[in-house]
């Protein structure tokens, strides 16, 4: 495993060198993402100019939630972006055959194909929003809190990875599943606002079936005790533990599901070809 990570990092270093050949592409791409973030923030400030809280969360709490979401999504874009190419027909055009003839795990080879430098935008904005909101929230953030935050960044990344893996694996049967991936990805837009503002149907979708709500909204509630956890009633004394258990179990379930569908898909292509 350590050797694979070493190989991955070496290859990624070359990819970064390759990406550096296209400085203009990088600047334009990052500018696009920055503008997108700014629009979200302007919209948010406009909303909060008329109200004190949204779904029970104050402006600073929403900024914390958005910051966490942006950081996790930025990390996901950075290392796990190439799967989009495969979902949009890459496998059926022969890439899978190429992966299969190299002595490395297939998904690692997909990850090695690209490091998306445009992710610098959301990662930087995410970190900045987290820093500003933690400072302005006047909450005592000790070492344990930072460890929990790091854990939520990790589980959020696992959830995004697993969801993409499940949908991308479908392309191993269908030839392409990028369109479905795009539709599911659109649900991320709902998590720019507190999930508590939506009705129970959308809450169920975002907190169970397409669990983007567990990337940033539910982790934010770990530090905000005044807002109840949607869909579940949890006693106040075990609230923090319940949130940790909820996020952990959904991450594990989706990761296992993703691995299962991926393995089945590979088995299917080994039987039928791509």
């Amino acid at each position: 495993m350590a050797e694979l990570i070493k190989i991955y990092l070496r290859v990624i270093a070359y990819r970064l060198y390759g990406a550096a050949q296209y400085k203009m592409d990088f600047l334009v791409g990052m500018l696009g993402l920055l503008v997108q973030q700014l629009i979200i923030l302007i919209l948010l400030f406009t909303i909060f100019s008329g109200i004190d809280s949204l779904g029970g969360l104050t402006l600073n709490q929403v900024l914390f939630m958005i910051g966490l979401g942006q950081l996790v999504r930025g990390l996901d874009i950075a290392y796990n972006d190439y799967i989009w190419v495969e979902a949009f027909g890459g496998f059926s055009e022969g890439s899978l055959y190429q992966y299969l003839t190299r002595p490395m795990p297939i998904y690692l080879q997909i990850l090695m194909n690209r490091v998306n430098t445009e992710s610098v935008g959301p990662i930087a904005i995410g970190i900045a929003l987290l820093a500003v909101s933690i400072h302005r929230l006047n909450v005592e953030f000790n070492v344990n809190d930072f460890l929990v935050l790091a854990y939520f960044i990790f589980t959020g990344a696992v959830i995004l990875f697993s969801l993409k893996l499940i949908v991308a694996s479908l392309s191993l049967w269908w030839g392409r599943s990028g369109e479905l991936m795009q539709v599911i990805h659109e649900f991320v837009e709902f998590t720019r606002y507190p999930v508590s503002i939506y009705g129970w149907i959308l809450q169920s979708v975002l907190l169970v079936f397409i669990p983007f709500g567990l990337v940033s909204f539910i982790p934010t509630l770990y530090w905000i005790e005044s807002v109840p956890i949607p869909l579940f009633s949890v006693p106040a004394e075990s609230r923090k533990l319940a949130i940790l258990a909820y996020v952990t179990s959904i991450s594990i379930i989706y990761f296992l599901l993703g691995s299962y569908v991926w393995r089945k898909g590979l088995q299917s292509t080994a039987n039928t070809g791509t």
Binding site: Y17, A19, G94, S95, Q98, R102
Partner: protein
Amino acid sequence: MFGEKVCKVQLIPEHKMNIIEVSNITKNYKVSKGKSSFQGLLSSLLKNEYSVVNALKGVSFNVKEGDICGVIGLNGAGKSTLIKILTGAMYPTSGSCVVNSKVPYKEREIYVDKIGVVFGQRSQLLWDLPVKHSFVILRHIYRIEKKKFEDNLEYFTKIMGIDKFIDTPVRMLSLGQRMRAEIVSTLLHDPKLLFLDEPTIGLDLIAKSTIRRAIKQLSEEKGTTVILTSHDLDDIDVLCDQLVVLDSGKVIHDGNKSDFINKFRSNKKIVVEVDGQLDLKQLSKNPLKEASIVADNTYSIEVDEQTQKLSEMLKELVNELPIVDLSIEENSLEDIVHSLYH
């Protein structure tokens, strides 16, 4: 003692071992039946109908270590399926396949460490980076020792003639240069087997010739076994010791390439150029009745030596026609395969 030369003698075993043993392989696919009407499309969403395609029907053959084996056949003959099974990317429906003492599809990661695969229409080089950077990445992927990597790089860049553009970004290379670099990229880890899928597709004559010469040299000097599929039968004709011909999922020839050519090369062609336009129907004996027109006033006549005497045919032609030029040609491998399929 000092100055004594040490001669390395490469011993070539008289009885080469089989490196590929394919026995009675079948492969059946389920293919979704396409619907032309909108109503059919809607019903297919609810109930998908399949038909079964028998891509391989009991394919058996062996390849000896160090040989170059050509696999040919028309589109849909089963070549790609066979190569996918041999490279470990696909399971057969039945039958067995042992390559380099491994079952490719059961021990993929260990097995592929000892093979190289070139896809004529897919690149494993990094588009934006100099060629050498791709090689270094492959060094890490295949975990090649530094010394071995450097020695191999020097050797293969020389025989493929890529040293002049090894520091050029891949996107700036011609198709021929890229293919040569592509082949080097699959050889750096010293594979025992090299699978070449259409390595000369789209290349000019000089590039084709360089690649063929290098493959031949590689096979002779390193003893690498090469499996080659190509639509360019000259590749097969120049390179291969063994030939496997597939037709509709079955092997219709497996053996020495020369045997195949001798078996089917009994037919010869007489090519005649005549003076002026001829009205073939006006000729009394009409020796050109089976001829095909090659160019203006030039005709090609197939002669089956088992039923026709070449000398009599020639006599007939000379007596009957105002001949300007005449030549007798043997059928090329391409002609033979073409006549087999048609």
